[in-house]
């Protein structure tokens, strides 16, 4: 393998736009392996399939589940690909969850500690596309949170998450991908 393995993190508040951008990113970067996506573990899907009432859950609970899903993705998708010398695009990665947590008013200290197990990405990109006006719970983590956390206005939460993500951190490539 001639190139060094790299972990490219792509984050954003719009799940569909995020994945589309990640697919394009994979082409641009010549990524051999597929993109590592949210809910590869099936935790959130199982929650929805069970049909239980999750409207009263908290953002902390959803973030603990997000972290469990990310630990799964790291173990089964990201780390093995990196160990084989491949470059991996993780969409979303840590920044999406951190922004969601901050938008919900959670302390940065708790969030930083929660994701301490996650390896630092080689590159970070933020996709600035506006959140979907009618989010579907399966589109992405932010959409899942906006649909199910009924005690908080979903649109406002999505907008706040995007703001948290966009505080001067959108990369050149992220902006370019958003513009396409």
């Amino acid at each position: 393998m001639s190139r060094r393995p790299r972990l490219i993190a792509v984050d954003g508040a719009n799940g569909r736009a995020l994945l589309a951008a990640a697919e394009r990113m994979a082409v641009v970067k010549g990524v051999e392996k597929s993109v590592s996506r949210w809910d590869a573990s099936g935790l959130f899907e199982q929650l929805v399939m069970a049909g239980d009432d999750i409207s009263t859950t908290s953002s902390r609970l959803l973030l603990l589940l997000y972290a469990a899903d990310l630990a799964f993705r790291l173990r089964w998708e990201i780390e093995p690909a990196l160990a084989e010398g491949h470059t991996v695009v993780a969409a979303p990665y840590v920044d999406t969850a951190m922004a969601f947590g901050r938008a919900c008013g959670l302390p940065a200290k708790w969030l930083n500690n929660l994701f301490r197990f996650a390896r630092k990405p080689s590159e970070r990109h933020v996709i600035g596309t506006a959140p979907a006006s009618r989010p579907r719970e399966t589109a992405g983590f932010i959409e899942f949170g906006c649909v199910h956390l009924e005690w908080i206005d979903g649109r406002e939460l999505a907008a706040r998450t995007r703001k948290q993500l966009g505080t001067g951190r959108a990369s050149h490539l992220g902006r370019r991908l958003r513009a396409r």
Binding site: A50, D52, S58, S59, R60, L64, W110, N113, L114, F117
Partner: protein
């Protein structure tokens, strides 16, 4: 998190509710200890006695959230959980029970008995090689019990009591981290690590240690005595963040 100072803030409401001398405040009692320590037997006897004393009692067990338990159960069956995932999912289960069972019960003045509390997660996760600081932060904002009864037994006693009646399951035996094929042998090794962590936690967090090698009757009588002493303790202000966060969400705020 710094508690807001407004008199109408959730923090102020939490303090007012739990320090109001005109009402019986909700008490949180945790039963902790390794498998085979007899704590479930004691918990049942204690609950019956508390009810006879006029307490409205709610019981909550480890890994019993209706929402999260199925997620954990299916993954345990497949033996696919890493220590990190195991830890995060149990913290999620605990968080859900705190929000949906424990805090609502305490708020209305009920007494909550927790058959295992967050210390179970700490002892097991650290025994699996995770960092204590990382694990404890998963449970923030921390909700401290009024009393933690720790049922202390030796690894040999725990091993004997558990393995003479059944074969420990894969995660109970710690086979995910011991790499020992025989579940009984693995259990003996793993429970020694768990007990070592419990003993450290008992010192750090000031558990009330019960010698669980004694008779059931002796232990129960001691629990009654210790409870009578312990229930006089004032509400711990350490809990204000946990209650305030729950109140804020209940009333349509963030978090």
């Amino acid at each position: 998190m710094t508690a807001p100072k407004s008199p109408r803030s959730p923090a102020a409401r939490a303090r007012a509710r739990f320090t109001d001398p005109s009402r019986r405040r909700g008490l949180l009692i945790a039963f902790e200890g390794p498998d085979g320590s007899g704590k479930t037997t004691q918990r049942k006897l204690f609950k019956t006695w508390l009810q006879a004393e006029g307490h409205d009692v709610v019981t909550t067990k480890w890994n019993s959230s209706e929402l999260i338990k199925p997620l954990v159960k299916s993954r345990k069956a497949l033996r696919v959980l890493s220590p990190t995932e195991f830890s995060l999912l149990h913290a999620a289960d605990f968080r859900h029970r705190v929000e949906s069972i424990i805090l609502p019960a305490l708020w209305t003045g009920r007494t909550v008995i927790a058959d295992r509390f967050l210390f179970t997660g700490l002892a097991r996760d650290v025994a699996r090689g995770l960092d204590l600081d990382w694990v404890i932060n998963l449970y923030a904002p921390l909700l401290w019990p009024d009393l933690v009864f720790y049922f202390s037994v030796s690894p040999a006693t725990s091993g004997l009591r558990v393995t003479t009646t059944r074969t420990p399951n894969f995660y109970e035996a710690g086979q995910d981290v011991t790499d020992v094929d025989d579940p009984v042998e693995s259990y003996h090794r793993f429970i020694a690590r768990v007990i070592r962590e419990y003993e450290s936690l008992a010192l750090i967090f000031n558990f009330v240690t019960i010698d669980a090698e004694r008779s059931i009757r002796e232990q129960h009588e001691e629990l009654r005595r210790l409870f009578r002493e312990g229930q006089q303790r004032p509400w711990s202000d350490w809990n204000v963040d946990a209650v305030a966060e729950w109140l804020a969400r209940r009333n349509g705020g963030a978090r």
